[in-house]
């Protein structure tokens, strides 16, 4: 894992989450800005997938449990599409908040993934 990339991923997810929650509470239905924020998070997650595949081959092996790491990463990758699908079918301001909730959950998961990769838990 690359710590700097985790910081970028967590930071982007937190920003996207706060943005969507605020927009939703202001009464905005899902729009380009809120959906694109989640698309950015998804792109970063896919970059994380590539990093996680390549890193062990370039002298950066996981010290924690790799299987657990992939369960987190795969689940995280499915969340933006699910949240965007929700936003497209239910065009109310609450869907914008749902986009935000998904992004904030991804931030927590990305933090956990970095922990699992780096920390030897025995």
């Amino acid at each position: 894992m690359i710590d700097v990339f985790t910081v970028i991923l967590v930071g982007a997810a937190v920003l996207a989450g706060l943005l969507c929650v605020v927009l939703g509470l202001l009464g905005r239905p899902p729009a380009d800005l809120s959906v694109l924020a989640l698309v950015v998070v998804e792109v970063l997650l896919l970059a994380q997938v590539v990093i996680a595949i390549v890193a062990p081959f370039s002298g950066n092996p996981p010290t924690g449990n790799l299987g657990e790491f992939w369960v987190y990463l795969a689940t995280a990758c499915l969340m933006p599409p699910a949240a965007i699908a929700w936003a497209l079918t239910d065009r109310t301001r609450w869907s914008t908040v749902v986009l935000g909730v998904a992004a904030l959950a991804i931030a927590v998961m990305a933090y956990r993934m970095n922990q699992i990769w780096n920390v030897q838990l025995g």
């Binding site: 449990n65 299987g67 657990e68 369960v71 987190y72 689940t75 969340m79 949240a83 929700w86 239910d90 109310t92 609450w94 869907s95 908040v97 749902v98 909730v101 998904a102 959950a105 927590v108 838990l121 025995g122």
Partner: protein, 146 residues
């Protein structure tokens, strides 16, 4: 039966947050049971039970099965209080006596209800309270309008 209104407005957030917690609890407990069940069998079994209840509660809220929602969300509140208290004051009972206090919430033996859900930012403690308040409000509204 066919005319049940779907949850509207802020209640949808409740369904979404429940869905996230259900996924988190299911994924984690399934992995812990497959990977290292022997390390804390009681804690991981409770964790799997909690995960199933979260899934049922999410579906009950989404499809307005209010009685089922009352039962599952009430069970969750009871679960997080009882298991939370056990993990703090009597960790031996749930087989975590050897595990350091912080590791019970954040370490590899951590489960969704441990230390009142601290590892999940206390969402498991707060969510059932909000859920029960929502169900109670819905019942009063139904009594007035229907």
């Amino acid at each position: 039966m066919s005319t049940r209104p779907k949850p509207a407005g802020p209640a949808r957030i409740l369904v979404a947050v429940y869905a996230v917690l259900a996924i988190a609890a299911t994924g984690r407990s399934a992995f812990q049971i497959v990977d290292r069940f022997d390390e804390a069998p009681i804690a991981f079994t409770l964790s799997a039970l909690a995960a199933v209840v979260y899934v049922v509660a999410t579906l009950a809220l989404a499809f307005r099965r209010d009685l089922l929602a009352w039962i599952t969300i009430g069970f969750e509140l009871l679960g997080v209080l009882v298991v939370g208290a056990l993990t703090v004051f009597a960790p031996d009972v749930v087989g975590l006596g050897e595990v350091a206090l912080t590791d019970r919430a954040f370490g590899r033996e951590s489960t969704v209800w441990a230390l009142f859900g601290l590892g999940y930012l206390c969402v498991p403690l707060v969510l059932p309270v909000i859920g029960l308040l929502y169900l109670g409000r819905g019942r009063r509204t139904a009594a007035i309008t229907g």
